[in-house]
């Protein structure tokens, strides 16, 4: 009996926390606008008959999720909305303009660097090969959204940076016949470094999304990039479809037979395979 009763106490605490949280989420969705203050801690304590600690827990969670933003000494406010990005082979500038927002860029650095092992592998060059490098902060309607870096082999596009930093990397690649046609991107959750937090103007949360991308033009690996998106303003949405059926060899080995019998059959399959492909 004791074992059944003990979870009731934390469950009731969780329920109160949930009530405060749902109330705040409801205010943000229905009543308040971006930049509006939420009710004070004291008002929330009185309204729900809960401790200041429970209220703080609910507010902290919403600050962490980027729904609310806390301003030191001023209070807690409704945070700017997140932006949803579909994973596509587009640039930041293209995505912003499609949303009717004004993209802006601050170039942090530009030059020629020696290819790291990672960049060399992604671009199909030798490690140490000369790569163009461009690093910049991207803004949407004046707010910093991401820090981007791009690497392109100097051999592939010798004059890429000759006229200064290209406003659009995709346009610069198209200009030399390397139209971006497909790519792969890997997303990782991380914490911003001090420098990244300062560049992105992060307050409260330090959560960022790191994206590493290879951009191909048909059979040519054209560009290697990484980006650091602020976690409180940026969401990714990915269209999903059921996977294509897997291809399975026509001759299957029954798994419940002794290992030796399977080995014999494997040799037979090998012979068949040679006959078919050779």
């Amino acid at each position: 009996m004791h074992a059944k009763q003990s979870p009731a106490v934390p469950a009731r605490g969780a329920h109160k926390y949930q009530a405060v949280r749902s109330y705040l989420v409801g205010l943000v969705e229905a009543g308040l606008r971006v930049g509006d203050a939420i009710p004070s801690e004291r008002a929330l304590c009185e309204r729900f008959g809960v401790s200041r600690m429970t209220v703080r827990q609910a507010v902290d969670a919403l600050v962490g999720e980027g729904v609310l933003v806390r301003e030191q000494g001023r209070g807690t406010f409704v945070a700017p909305r997140r932006m949803d990005f579909e994973m596509r082979l587009t640039t930041f500038g293209e995505e912003m303009r499609r949303r009717g927002m004004r993209p802006e860029t601050r170039v942090l650095g530009m030059g020629t660097v020696a290819a790291s092992a990672e960049a060399a592998d992604a671009l199909g060059t030798e490690p140490g090969a000369a790569l163009h490098h461009l690093r910049r902060v991207r803004y949407a309607d004046g707010s910093p959204m991401s820090i981007e870096q791009h690497w392109v082999a100097v051999d592939l596009v010798p004059g890429l940076l000759a006229a200064g930093p290209p406003p659009s990397m995709h346009d610069a690649l198209r200009a030399v016949g390397l139209d971006p046609s497909w790519g792969e991107e890997t997303l990782t959750a991380a914490e911003a470094t001090d420098e990244e937090a300062a560049l992105l103007g992060l307050r409260g949360t330090r959560a960022v999304l790191r994206a590493t991308r290879r951009t191909f033009s048909a059979d040519t690996p054209a560009m290697y990039s990484n980006a650091c998106y602020r976690g409180d303003r940026y969401s990714v949405w990915v269209p999903l479809s059921a996977p294509a059926p897997a291809l399975v060899p026509r001759v299957r080995e029954p798994d419940d037979r002794p290992a030796r019998a399977r080995d014999d059959e494997r040799e037979a399959v090998g012979a068949l395979e040679d006959g078919r492909t050779g």
Partner: protein, 81 residues
């Protein structure tokens, strides 16, 4: 330039250790995700030479980066399996 058509499918299959080494191959948007019996029979250099843009091995799962032509490659592979 990468090998094209049925020749590429045969070369990819050989790089994966042959039909006998395959449990299944799942075509994804840009990759072949293969489950092999014996990872030591997979030849990453041969897969690269056959036009793969990357090979990631994790246990018995071998991912081969192909690009959008993975669809046609998958039908060619099916004919050989």
């Amino acid at each position: 330039m990468s090998t094209q058509g049925a020749g590429q499918a045969a070369a990819i299959l050989a790089g994966l250790g042959g039909v006998g080494n395959i449990d299944e191959i799942e075509p994804c948007t840009t990759r072949l995700r293969s489950l092999v019996k014996e990872p030591s029979r997979v030849d990453a250099a041969a897969l690269r030479a056959a036009g793969a843009f990357g090979v990631m091995v994790s246990g018995r799962v071998v991912q081969v980066v192909i690009g959008p032509s993975v669809d046609t490659l998958a039908s060619d592979l099916e004919d050989l399996m």
